[in-house]
């Protein structure tokens, strides 16, 4: 068990290191290096950057030195929490990303919670009552949920929200609070705005997980241990919830790691439509404007969050599956 833990930790560390290398490559991808881009952009917008200032930036990132030195210098800066400045916003990258990262994590965790609390019971119901009217209804709705692009859904929800309930569904804050400093009133405002985007972000995942849960559970329900549990005289509800559902949960735990990046990169369009202040639209915009320090930092953050998510799902698997805990399965 300790060996398993140690191996996972080591793999996570190696993966994070690999992510930094890829991030650095992305940083260097544009034909024009980011200092030149910064200077050009500044002069285009009327401001000017002195030659000395540009030179200082070059020196800090070692842009005139070999790539490996550049990489190490950049890594050193990043390791000390200095992600540089966003040239487009004219502010430090950490400040630009700032709250957006936490709002993204909050929204993702919220969406995941909604997904699970709805998808698991529906999936269980659909499997246990396979081919019942309810199963057909959920299957039908589920396939629609899979087929309809969620940004369209977002637009529809916004329309109906405005038309019939007179509520604005865009954004995560009312206009009064958007730029205000954090306060309890702002938190409450955020809580009021969360449900709709959470639900819209969750819907495709719900549709997918219902299908997965249904298929997993149908497989498990046929296994002999279900029959033996029944033969012992257990009530049907307990038979199902204690044994096959437990087994069918395994694949769920192992996909947690992917949910986080999905809610970021898979939901850029939704975030734009709903004007959510999350990382997704920021990443898209920084890539378009080649604001490379901002873009690469965002990618790095997402990569690290994914690794952490995967680590969490590994730990969760270890917790729920004794075969992994006791080293029977690799």
């Amino acid at each position: 068990m300790l060996a398993y833990l140690a191996r996972r930790m080591l793999l996570a560390a190696i993966t994070i290191w690999a992510i930094t290398a890829v991030t650095f490559i992305i940083l260097k991808l544009p034909p024009v290096d980011f200092v030149d881009a910064y200077v050009a952009q500044a002069s285009a917008s009327g401001a000017s950057i002195s030659a000395a200032e540009a030179e200082a930036l070059r020196a800090a990132y070692g842009l005139n030195e070999p790539y490996i030195v550049q990489y190490l210098k950049w890594l050193n800066l990043v390791a000390h929490g200095d992600f540089g400045r966003s040239f487009e916003y004219g502010r430090p990258v950490t400040e630009v990303i700032g709250d957006r990262l936490w709002l993204t994590v909050l929204l993702s965790l919220g969406a995941i919670t909604v997904t699970w609390t709805l998808a698991l019971p529906i999936g269980i119901y659909s499997a246990v009552r396979q081919y019942s009217v309810g199963d057909y209804i959920f299957t039908f709705v589920g396939f629609i949920g899979l087929a309809v692009p969620s940004f369209l859904l977002a637009l529809i929800v916004m329309y109906f929200g405005l038309r019939f309930f007179n509520m604005s569904v865009g954004g995560l804050f009312s206009s009064d609070f958007a730029l205000a400093p954090w306060s309890w009133a702002k938190v409450w405002d955020l809580i009021k705005h969360l449900p709709v985007p959470m639900l819209i972000l969750a819907l495709p995942g719900i549709a997918q997980l219902v299908r997965i849960m249904r298929a997993n559970l149908l497989d498990e329900l046929r296994r002999p241990y279900v029959m033996t549990a029944r033969a012992r005289g257990l009530p049907e509800r307990r038979v199902i919830l204690k044994y096959p559902v437990r087994a069918a949960l395994n694949p769920f735990a192992s996909t947690i790691g992917y949910l986080l990046p999905y809610t970021v990169s898979g939901s850029i369009i939704i975030s734009i439509v709903l004007s959510l202040p999350t990382v997704g639209p920021l990443l898209l915009r920084s890539l378009i404007s080649q604001d490379m320090l901002l873009a690469s930092t965002t990618i790095l953050m997402l990569g690290i969050l994914t690794v952490i998510g995967t680590l969490v799902s590994d730990l969760l698997l270890m917790w729920i599956d004794p075969r992994i805990r006791l080293g029977q399965l690799k």
């Binding site: 002999p224 033996t228 033969a231 012992r232 257990l234 006791l326």
Partner: protein, 334 residues
């Protein structure tokens, strides 16, 4: 003879699939007595396991008991018809495990890999007796010791995948007996085990039967196991009972051609080297294409044309306790 503890009367369990109806059990009747072993024998797919599941009312959908009676004589002398009980009712659940225990053929997959053996045993014990967790745990260790598991105090916290196949099957027996049932149904309990382990498990079942005066239903396709264990035998073919009787009569005076064919296909220690093993011609018909008349007639070496393929044979009583369903016995000729 005493009253039977379990009487199955003309049981029909059918599966209603889109393609048609599979008559998995199609008229089976037998009596089971305390302290006795009833062997149910037949090829795969003849309805042996479905019979066992029907008795416990745990037939999976789309299967359903269509008609018949399963009369269980309770400890207080009253008789309960299992067919009339709703499958998930409190009384049916109390009987499942509490009156009738079931051992399955696959010890590998019949235990949950996510729960310790103790967890599953204690759960079963507490379902049928009001014991505290601590008492139930002590009882679980006792049960494990009783079925011959070494170091039960440690094994109680083991997971099934940490045990060998033979030990797992012993755990299955312990689980089946956790509710102190008076009837034990063993559905191919030794099929997945190696030969030495098979003998041990059968011996275990036999000694438990002696100690607790258990009535045992032993389901198998192995005539050797039947010869060793059973007092009475039911031979099934395609859901129908083709012959039944005391084990000696079945082995020494088989009346049905199918019983004779099964007995011929037992490998003999006296056989010449390289002698071919006798087999039953053909294979079991597809469940949706049941033959008319006697279900065995296409494979039978003694078929009477015009009779066996058109009329379902009636059961003919031979002597006091033996019966078979064959036209040859009712004196019909082609």
């Amino acid at each position: 003879m005493a009253d039977p503890i379990l009487s199955v009367r003309d049981l029909h369990t059918h599966f209603f699939a889109d393609e048609g109806v599979v008559r998995a059990v199609d008229g089976t009747s037998f009596d089971l007595f305390a302290g006795q072993t009833l062997g149910i024998v037949g090829e795969s797919g003849c309805g042996k396991s479905v019979t066992a599941r029907s008795i416990l009312r745990i037939v999976d959908r789309p299967g359903r008991i269509v008609s018949g009676e399963i009369l269980l004589r309770r400890a207080d002398g009253s008789v309960t018809d299992m067919v009339k009980l709703p499958a998930d009712s409190r009384e049916a659940r109390a009987i499942r495990g509490g009156e009738i225990g079931l051992v399955f053929q696959e010890p590998m997959s019949s235990l949950s890999a996510f729960h310790t053996i103790g967890n599953q045993l204690i759960e079963a014990i507490r379902l049928h007796a009001s014991l505290s967790k601590k008492q139930a745990r002590a009882r679980a260790i006792e049960l494990l010791a009783m079925v011959g598991i070494p170091r039960p105090e440690q094994r109680v916290d083991a997971y099934s995948f940490e045990l060998s196949g033979g030990l797992r099957q012993r755990v299955m027996v312990a689980l089946a007996l956790a509710g102190e049932p008076r009837i034990l149904i063993a559905d191919e309990p030794t099929t997945a085990l190696d030969v030495t382990t098979q003998a041990q498990i059968l011996e275990l079942i036999r000694s438990l039967q002696r100690e607790r005066d258990l009535a045992v239903i032993l389901i198998t396709h192995d005539m050797g196991v039947i010869a060793e264990m059973a007092d009475d035998v039911v031979v099934m073919y395609l859901g129908k009972e083709v012959e039944k009787g005391p084990v000696d009569a079945i082995f020494h005076a088989p009346n049905h051609p199918y019983t004779r064919a099964l007995l011929r296909s037992i490998p003999s220690i006296l056989a010449e080297p390289r002698e071919k093993l006798a087999t039953i011609a053909g294979s079991i018909p597809h469940p949706f294409a049941r033959p008319n008349g006697c279900p065995f007639h296409p494979r039978c070496s003694e078929t009477l044309p015009g009779v066996c393929d058109t009329q379902v044979p009636a059961t003919v009583q031979i002597g006091e306790r033996q019966a078979a369903a064959c036209h040859l016995l009712s004196g019909k000729t082609a």
